[in-house]
Symmetry: C2
Subunit: 299 residues, 2 copies
Amino acid sequence: MPLLVVGSIAFDTIHTPHGSAERVLGGSASYFSVVASHFINPRLVGVVGRDFPQANIDLFTARGIDIRGLTKTDGDTFFWEGEYHRDMNTRTTKAIKLGVFEHFKPELPAEYKDSKFVFLANSSPDTQASVLDQVARPELVVADTMDFWINHHREPLLMLLPRLDGLMLNDSEAMLLTGESNLVRAGHAVRKLGPGFVILKKGEHGAMLFSDDGVFVVPAFPTETVVDPTGAGDSFAGGIMASLAAEPERKAGRLRRAMAYGTVVASLTVEGFGLDRLRITSKQEIDARLDQYRQMLAF
Amino acid sequence: MPLLVVGSIAFDTIHTPHGSAERVLGGSASYFSVVASHFINPRLVGVVGRDFPQANIDLFTARGIDIRGLTKTDGDTFFWEGEYHRDMNTRTTKAIKLGVFEHFKPELPAEYKDSKFVFLANSSPDTQASVLDQVARPELVVADTMDFWINHHREPLLMLLPRLDGLMLNDSEAMLLTGESNLVRAGHAVRKLGPGFVILKKGEHGAMLFSDDGVFVVPAFPTETVVDPTGAGDSFAGGIMASLAAEPERKAGRLRRAMAYGTVVASLTVEGFGLDRLRITSKQEIDARLDQYRQMLAF
């Protein structure tokens, strides 16, 4: 099933206690689509500046990512610089230059309008809604959001939620959105705002799924090699959406299996700087880690 | 198999955003043994003061807990007062009066010396070692510890660790003990200090087991009703040790199943103040929740 992702493409400069990486390819749409390319050929919509090198575009195309929705325009590519603290769970943003992303109004190429699986990466709820308006008959629409939109664009976000099959957000953001201090109650409360299911992301502690099937919990895959956590959440989303799109039959438990895929690809992402680890992985390695993960949870 | 627990018996005054409880029965040995009594008749060693009411002793005996190792002595019972913050994950200690627990030197009744499963609840490593010296031929010895002993009694703790089959501690304490900032590496590093297996407790995020079988991860059972987190860790230990002692065959994966039992009993504990919820549960309810938990993890 055609899978569409609309999100950011960025240069990231990343500092961790273990080293640094300068201006590496990042952004939600990059992580999402590189992950997804191990399952399916995703359709990407994003914007980059004149400084975006052909090598990065080649990386996308070499991985079978459909870049007909990638626009190059005057200005600089979105730039982010951040520093991770010793525990690798918290980070400080040192610099943000939105560049061409600041006034990005995503326009879907005509060939993308029949997309069935749609992932609206973190951006303003108005932008996310405008993308949705352009898709003819989506079957599964999932959006990500963040505290900024919850705090400052609450109304448009509340308008968007009933249009979503699923919403992904961090645990603290779910509590912010609902006023609930218990995560389980917060998850149920987010669902009442409209989305068919809700995925709460807890970083190194895994994630929770709230759906008609009840609550499903996944711990993170325990990796010893946390080099760079950047992109873990978008990789998680990519693994979920792409594994669903690649096997779109509505089987029981498909969301759970998708969450497990999301978990293992996120664990690969953090084992290298930027996209380094994801680029050298394979569907075979992903599936092997999924098996390992399944065994790790069995009792 | 006879199961022995040596730990504290206390009066707890607990404040939470949802209410308070005054001088309710608490302490590691109380939680542990009440949980364990749903699986087996545990042997308790502890000390209380003259202020300890017969009603509490009756509670233990009514649940089949062997209290021949319970000593009543001049002075007051250990008292703790604490306040949980809004998120229920952090708490502030408002008062501690060690009372008769301060100079507690556990002495095992002769009838306890053949105990096979031994849980050394959190106390000084010297005290824990002195208990172990009194058990003739233990088969499975597990201890709990905390940051205070790691910081201030490190040498005796390091002497104790090789004598243990298992060590339980919080995630932050494992990092403190080993200097590792990654939890998975910290878990492996604790094992190198001696214990056959290590259980890292992550509170509302579950736990991790490190053993010869590799790493096993369990998320917490997602409960909406967190009334009082006091005693969750000791209940977790009680569920683990008692389910092992009740089915002592060395089957593959028995530690994992025990961890799952520990997880579900801990989730029951937090649903009431003090021991309220544990007292009214049943082995049937525990097993039903274990099934629910298993389904919640399946993909």
